[in-house]
Amino acid sequence: MRVAIPSPLRSYTGGREHVQACGATLAELLAELDAAFPGIRFRMIDEQGRIRVHMRLFVNSELARDLEVRLIDRDEVQILCALSGG
């Protein structure tokens, strides 16, 4: 499925704004992303599996609260950065 990458994370994707990845859940999708772009997951997800406070993950424009959200192939995942101060 198509995954939109925000600018702070494009140093991991070689500047690409969109990448393709698979997974039955957001957790699986992020594991695959991390295998393709090592280190990218930890910048979004902390060591306890929590989405970091200034990151937002959307599946088809719906905000994901955790990584157990189920995915199908035609879903679109957007990774966005929330406000984080000056």
Partner: protein
């Protein structure tokens, strides 16, 4: 691991991690670089041989919050940078070409994953980086917020927590996670005994000083004689607020700390800190963030006083910035301000933003939260500004290149 006893008044003759290295070409002046960590990236200032001209290069890791950037004095090549971006989680980056290229740690500092149903901790940022001593090439330590301790044995590529601290049930008793230090409670000082890499001291804001003699497997508070700011008892076992701790590389049984409650010195094996800041002028006080030692003289130490009265403005008292130097281990202090603003200098110098090189005479460097960088090439007698208009400065480290 065997517990070691601290030797009395032992003097180190060999090179330590922070001691000046013996130079093979004594005629060649050292090349000094000043590594500056700021809220918006890192900068490297290159000095000429006489340290009279400086070229600012950067920013590196542009836009990232760089709490510390440190060159390994053992190889004079490996640079580690503790960074996080506003949105992204914290990581550590490594460079061996003075910042031209960076490699991210493949396993950054992170707590163990908590069992199901238990709320686990997450590293918010790495605050402090230090190499281990000369006996352990490639070994580094990292201190984080919340206060936790990590070790790398491969030059900063992979990190693991020191369980004796991070998993210690007393950790959150000694250093409560709800501590209200701005930007989060931190482990800000990790001191490695140059004689014995298993002998460690750490300093934590809102927690105190702690010592381990077994490479971090077990810890004990080391706060006798130090006042605590938020305690009904004036001298509790823990709960003190060291701002910055330092150990002298040539006399490792001598420790100093600039604390929220004054300037202190400790000569091991004693365990009682002496408040040497009591001899500072009363109008200036002995509150500040950083403390800097002379690498060749255990009795010489510098501080940068700030206003710790009323609501704690934390700026130079009366808007008149000055460093204070003691040459008798804190018995007396002298003001050094030549070249600094004589008025309207409302400087805040953070705990990692004051450092020394290893030249003769010693060079001193401090950075302000207003983005000014100042240096003295004559041990503090006179000062001049070598950079301005930088972002908020968090750390200043002077390093020597080969």
């Amino acid at each position: 691991m065997q517990r070691r006893s601290v030797k009395k008044k032992s003097v180190v003759k060999s090179r330590s991690s922070r001691a000046p290295a013996k130079r093979t070409k004594s005629t060649r002046p050292p090349r000094v670089v000043v590594l500056v960590g700021t809220r918006k990236g890192a900068f490297v200032l290159h000095g000429n041989a006489s340290r009279t001209r400086w070229r600012t290069e950067g920013p590196h890791r542009f836009g990232e919050i760089v709490n510390h950037i440190v060159l390994d004095p053992r190889d004079r090549k490996t640079l580690l940078c503790a960074a996080r971006a506003g949105h992204l989680g914290p990581s550590i980056f490594r460079s061996t070409d003075l910042g031209k290229t960076w490699q991210e740690a493949t396993v950054p500092p992170a707590f163990r994953t908590a069992p199901a149903g238990v709320t686990g901790y997450a590293v918010q940022h790495t605050f402090y980086l230090t190499p281990s001593n000369a006996s352990e090439p490639g070994v580094w330590f990292a201190g984080t917020s919340p206060p936790a301790l990590f070790r790398s044995e491969d030059g900063g590529a992979t990190w693991r927590g020191i369980d004796g601290w991070n998993e210690n049930p007393l950790r959150t008793v000694w250093c409560p996670p709800e501590d209200q230090t701005p930007d989060g409670s931190i482990m800000h000082s990790i001191l490695v005994d140059p004689r014995d890499a298993t002998h460690l001291y750490v300093g934590c804001s809102g927690g105190g000083s702690f010592e381990s003699s077994d490479a971090g497997a077990t810890w004990r508070p080391l706060n006798e004689g130090v006042e605590a700011p938020a305690s009904p008892e004036p001298f509790p076992e823990y709960g003190q607020d060291p701002h910055c701790m330092a150990l002298h590389p040539l006399q490792p049984d001598r420790l100093y700390q600039q604390n929220h409650c004054g300037i202190y010195r400790l000569d091991r094996p004693a365990t009682h800190w002496e408040r040497v800041g009591k001899s500072m002028p009363a109008a200036v006080g002995d509150i500040g963030f950083p403390i800097v030692l002379h690498p060749r003289d255990p009795d010489t130490v510098w501080v940068f006083p700030m206003d710790g009265t009323t609501v704690w403005p934390r700026v130079s008292p009366d808007g008149k910035p000055a460093v204070y130097r003691s040459r008798d281990a804190g018995k007396s202090w002298e003001r050094q301000q030549r070249g600094l603003p004589s008025e309207n200098g409302w400087y805040t110098v953070k705990r990692q933003a004051f450092g020394a090189d290893e030249c003769t005479p010693l060079g001193l460097y401090f950075g302000t939260t207003s983005g000014e960088l100042w240096m003295s090439a004559n041990e503090g007698k006179s000062w001049r500004q070598i950079a301005a208009h930088l972002p908020h400065i968090y750390s200043v480290v002077a390093a020597t290149l080969d």
